[in-house]
Structures are given as C-alpha cells and as structure tokens.
Symmetry: C2
Subunit: 121 residues, 2 copies
DNA sequence: CAGGATCCGCCTCGATACTG
DNA sequence: CAGTATCGAGGCGGATCCTG
C-alpha cells in the first residue's frame, strides 16, 4: 500500500500546511484524541480497561490501530507483562504527555466556540 | 440529514475531547488548512484566484464547500461584487486570522516532527 | 466566473468471528 | 485477555456536466 503522506502524494511539499495536514489527519482520526486524553489520566492502563474507559463503544480493531499509530509516533509505550491471560499495559511517553498538553491547550483556546459537523452538504 | 456533531451522536457529551473532536475534524478536512493559510496571505481574494493559488488541484465543489463551512463558522466573509462575469471575494474575519495564527503556532510546535499517514494498515 | 447537481471510487470504521 | 482477519456500509472527495 501507499505509505506516503497525503502531502507527498499531492505534490504539495514545501508549502506551509503539509506537515500540519498530516498532523491534523492523525489527530482527527476517530477516537484518537479520546484515547490520548484517557491515557493521560492513568499512569498505565490495560487494553481492555482503556477500551471500557472510553466514552461510547470503540471496536477492538480500531483501538488497536490507534494505539499502534500512537506507538509508532512515539506518543505511547506498550508493555507486555508475561502471558496468560495476556496482560498489556499502555502509557504515555513524555512526548505523549506533551501532545496531551497541546490538546488541552487547543480545547481551552476553542473555549465556547462551536464548530458544526464536518459533513458535506 | 443528521445535523448533529459526531460527539453528540456518540453520546460522549460532557467528556473532554468532544468539542475538540469536532474542531479537529473540521480542520482536518482536505484542503481546509491550506485554504485558511492561503486566505491569510491576501487581504481579499476571488474564488478562481484562490483556487489557482492553492498547491495542487482542488475541485470547485470542494473549495466551495470549504469556504461555505468557514463562512458558517465565522472565519471567512464572502463579498459578492455585482454581476457578470461573476465576481466574489473571500477574506478572513478577525476570528479567521486568529485561526490562522493558531495553525501557524501548531505548525511551529510540531517542528521537525514527522507524522506518518493516517491510513489503516 | 462562481458554483450547484450527479455519479462514483476509495477509504475508514463497525460488527462479527477467530486465535495464542 | 489482547488482539487479528474478514466483510460490509457509509461518507468524503474527485471528475464531469450544467447554469445564472
């Protein structure tokens, strides 16, 4: 599969907004910000607990994808604690905590701003 | 059509990340940040010029949608200058300039960070 | 020129079933 | 328990055609 960023595929390199674009896409993925937010409230948390801690129903598949992505970007560490029944803990890295701080800041900045849904009309 | 925000549909009201979620979705829509960035470089700019000023090819339909969304959120003003051939100018509101500043700040914060694509694997 | 209307492919997510 | 594999549905964005 094409592993390049969207900015790269667009040939829009060198123009402001590229890296930012990828960053926004990364964060805007469904559940992503919730996952970060929830991880930030625990020193470490297991897969199932994290899943239940999230508001609403997130499928295991998606949670797994998000955690993997976060890990790849260095926001999260995965710790496998032996076996049977499987125990895995996730926690934010220092960089992850920075991200959380940024998100909180963003939320504060938005303040009372209302943003309608992003649907096409 | 369902005009509620995703956060509302998820029943995740009251949990941190809702409004932020919508905001991220809003900004992460394709071309959105580029449109804001480009608008910020002109006091006012016409539809076609804006279209050509954007890096890569954006369809008229999508640009129209983005501008409409930005206008609805109070980031952009649309000025219709008489008729034939149609002339329409778009420009950022003070609030829109604030948004641009935030985006620039975000970009600076990201710095040399690389974020991989948001695709599923 | 500035868009609206349509059609359509692709991607993302959700649900379900399965495994070490 | 912590995932992976597979399938299907819905939504977003691109292309094309059309109009005041």
């Amino acid at each position: 599969m094409d592993a390049r960023t969207r900015a790269e595929r667009d040939g829009s390199d060198g123009v402001a907004g590229c890296r930012l674009d990828d960053f926004l896409n990364f964060l805007a993925q469904r559940w992503m910000s919730h996952v970060v937010w929830t991880l930030a409230q625990h020193p470490a948390i297991r897969f199932g607990a994290l899943r239940r801690a999230l508001p609403g129903e997130i499928s295991a598949r998606v949670l797994s994808n998000r955690l993997k992505a976060l890990e790849e970007e260095g926001f999260v560490v995965r710790r496998d604690l032996g076996t049977l029944p499987l125990h895995v803990e996730y926690s934010l890295t220092p960089r992850g905590r920075l991200l959380d701080a940024e998100l909180r800041r963003g939320e504060a900045q938005i303040g009372r701003t209302k943003i309608a849904d992003a649907k096409e009309r």
